[in-house]
Amino acid sequence: MAESFQPTLDFEAVEAAAEAGEALVVDLDGFEGPLHVLLALARSQKVDLLRLSIARLADQYLAFVQEARKRRFAVAADYLVMAAWLTYLKSRLLLPKPERKGEEPPAQELAEALAFRLVRLEAVRKACDALHARAQLGRDVFARGDAEQVVVHATSRLEGSLYELMTAFVSQRRRAEARRYAPAARVEAYPLEAARERLSQLLPDLESWTSLGGIAPAPSAAATDAKQRGPSRASYLASTLSAGLEMVKDGRLEARQLQAFAEIWIRRAQTRPQLLAAE
């Protein structure tokens, strides 16, 4: 093994590898990487990869790289890294045995590790072949060409509860109600004229404080129909107050309210001279 480690014999080494049955074309494109080259070379040794002569493999590899560099300028860096490492490994393998422990793994272990990697890559290669040889779908075996699709009958079940039905009925009626515009429902007002006239007639009798509510006319309770009933109580009250305020302004009436929303009291205005005298 050592005798083949001669740089000048590189070319022969590659040829030897080729003759050994491995079509080792010196074309880096044919290899995925240095490990693939090593595997191809290792196969040429025709031994169990785990019992490979690493030194011989290193020689073969270096020869291969040399040849590759002869023909091409650029060789990928990892090929050169591997070359350097193999050179180093080989030199250590050739050194006399006793090595100091603890520094680096023994050369033999490194060699075994390399052999293991080659075995592993070889296994991947075989797995590739085995996979490729399998009956592949669409290439060797075929599934049903005219598959009958399962027909999906989608029946949609409608959800609806009585509550929803009732809600729909009521909400529809509410909207109808909101839409309805009923002019007939207008409120009949107690005319201001009538209130003024009535209050003037009552004025002489309003000697003391009398509540406004007591003076305003009441709606006719006898009438059953809304139309016959006439103005509402609120309208009577509002018109009477309005007429009363006019008379306060004229000085004919006095009005007082103790607080907001409290009863409003009115009485005939006291004469001015009396008021002055009183002061």
Partner: protein, 215 residues
């Protein structure tokens, strides 16, 4: 031809028919097989072999194909049920039909105050909750609508008289706020109304006349 050889023709034809994207004629099959192979006999053999199986070899327009047995068609369908809700418009229309029946399209629109899209009535008829009951004895003889037994079943009602009335609506809190003016829950008429002619045989209402043209 030997026994083995004819078995080989048969399984070749079997594979070709299985993988083909469409039915194959005897000529198609012969063209893809070595010359002299008896395709006709292979087909006869396959027919016999598959007779009564889950898959059968059938001839359609002079071409052969494997099809699943007709009696297993139910396996090829998948029932899928999804629930959906009626739209608000459809639910309201249903409610009006339920409570006011018999009711014409124009009356439904009058109650709702908006036009009725054709799809809404269609949908209710299609679901089977609403039916055409008859015709109103009035100009144009419009179709009258009412609810079906399926409607009663779905809503769990023994009869139309069991439709919830104002009391139930109040109890359900639907009338809590202000009661709509003049709120009355009408009593639906199950029997033909006085001014209604039941639908006679063959008196199929036409869409344009009865669903759209009227009112």
């Amino acid at each position: 031809m030997s026994e083995d050889a004819s078995a080989e023709v048969e399984r070749s034809v079997e594979a070709l028919l299985f993988a083909a994207a469409e039915p194959l004629s005897v000529g198609d099959l012969a063209a893809r097989l070595p010359e002299g192979w008896d395709v006709g006999r292979a087909i006869a053999g396959l027919r016999a072999r598959y007779a009564g199986r889950g898959v059968e070899l059938v001839c359609v327009a002079d071409r052969w194909q494997f099809r699943t047995a007709p009696d297993l068609a139910h396996l090829m369908t998948e029932e899928r049920q999804d629930t959906r809700r009626l739209s608000k418009a459809a639910m309201e229309t249903l409610a009006i039909i339920a409570y006011h029946q018999p009711v014409t399209r124009a009356e439904i629109e009058a109650v709702r105050g908006v036009g009725l899209s054709r799809g809404t009535l269609d949908l209710l008829l299609e679901i089977g909750w609403v039916r055409i009951r008859g015709r109103r004895r009035s100009p144009g003889r419009p179709a009258t609508f009412g609810t079906t037994d399926a409607f009663l079943e779905h809503f769990g009602l023994p009869s139309l008289a069991d439709l919830p009335g104002a009391q139930e609506m109040k109890a359900a809190g639907l009338l809590d706020r202000d009661m709509p003016h003049g709120f009355v829950v009408p009593r639906p008429e199950g029997a033909p109304a006085a001014d209604e002619d039941p639908l006679a045989d063959g008196d199929v209402p036409e869409f344009h006349q009865d669903y759209l043209g009227e009112g």
